[in-house]
Symmetry: C2
């Protein structure tokens, strides 16, 4: 069967920006960009970061090697060269992203003041979840069934550490405080922040409020106040 491939130069547009082998004959020698060749780990990092960005946008089903290659200015087999297959790339992105999510969460905690107010904590976590698109990524993974087990190789159950640390802090002031209550607050905070990143704007619109950064911040503030009502 094997019908002709229509045009044979759809991909070459991006390529021309980085290596024009046609121009080497004349005087353009000096301006010719030599064919770049990165070290394997650098190339993989570059690909990984672009893939993560793409993944949070279009999800694991929507990720197209050709699109990614065009963005990166390479040919799509280059990606396959480094990651074996599309699924291999997705798995690598997921592993990397969940790992850095954990790191950023814990780092955000230790970086802040010793006992940050709940509002600041809320904003920090919201930033980690929202601004880098982790909530979207997590949602994609959970929806598509790729994140049955939270993190493959890394600190499992990161929220448990948070809960225990928070409870220790809280119990110093209120010795009779129960761990369950702290755990619930943490779970609600996490679920509400993650949910807010996905559903927040839609819910605000559906309830007649404008969907602006200001209303989102106000929501987080009220949430923090509610969670901090015990203290």
């Amino acid at each position: 069967m094997a019908k002709s491939r229509s045009e044979r130069a759809p991909e070459s547009a991006a390529k021309s920006a980085r290596a024009s082998k046609v121009a080497a004959a004349g005087s353009a020698r000096a301006t010719r960009t030599p064919r770049r060749r990165l070290r394997a780990d650098e190339a993989q990092k570059r690909i990984l970061e672009a893939a993560e960005k793409q993944l949070t946008k279009v999800g694991p089903e929507g990720l197209r090697l050709t699109d990614l290659a065009r963005v990166l200015g390479v040919s799509h087999p280059a990606i396959l060269h480094h990651f074996g297959s599309r699924e291999g790339l997705v798995a690598a992105v997921v592993r990397h992203a969940l790992h850095t999510l954990n790191e950023q969460l814990l780092a955000a905690l230790s970086r802040g003041p010793a006992a940050p107010g709940r509002a600041e904590l809320m904003d920090m976590v919201a930033e980690v979840y929202g601004e880098r698109g982790f909530a979207r990524l997590l949602a994609w993974l959970l929806l598509s069934g790729r994140a049955a087990k939270p993190v493959r190789g890394g600190t499992d159950m990161p929220l448990k550490q948070l809960a225990e640390a928070a409870h220790a802090l809280h119990a110093a002031k209120f010795p009779e405080a129960r761990y369950e209550d702290t755990l619930f607050e943490l779970q609600l905070g996490a679920i509400a922040l993650l949910g807010d990143a996905i559903f927040g704007d839609a819910v605000r619109r559906a309830s007649g409020a404008p969907a602006t950064p200001a209303t989102a911040r106000e929501f987080r503030g009220r949430l923090a106040a509610l969670l901090g009502a015990r203290d």
Copy 2:
């Protein structure tokens, strides 16, 4: 390497169950099922329902006409015959699903007791969101950018009606109650319930709790208590 397709005769299996034209020659005339032919609206309803189920599972990108056709026991052009294109089908499903979501939400409210406790309300809404997969569907739509405007043709801003009704109820007991507070409670409730349907199990696992229906119910109970703390 594309393991999903496996055998090359998946579509004929279902078909053979309903119309075996090869067997008509001999004596099997009496047992032959005549080719079923539904009325257009019935066929569309059937397709729509199956498509909605599929959509909540695999998302709008993952919906495959051939898969859907196999489930329904028809050929995939039959679906195209009724909905024009894959996108047409997805759009129809979305329209239909968001419409019934609204209906069910409002129905759940009017069906319940005049002033249901927050815990019961919570469970009712959670059932609408969770059990029929509306939360998943909504999440898919929001993630893939298909639900910029909440509902095309129908009651826009359904939550606003809820908020106003709830505030009227509440203000009868506490005249100085502020609408903003009720609105926030409603938003938090919606976001937490939606977020719980997507992230709940993962968050509970990540915080060291088992992810069972019981823990989910307990979470909703605590949430209801928290939201009802004003009363």
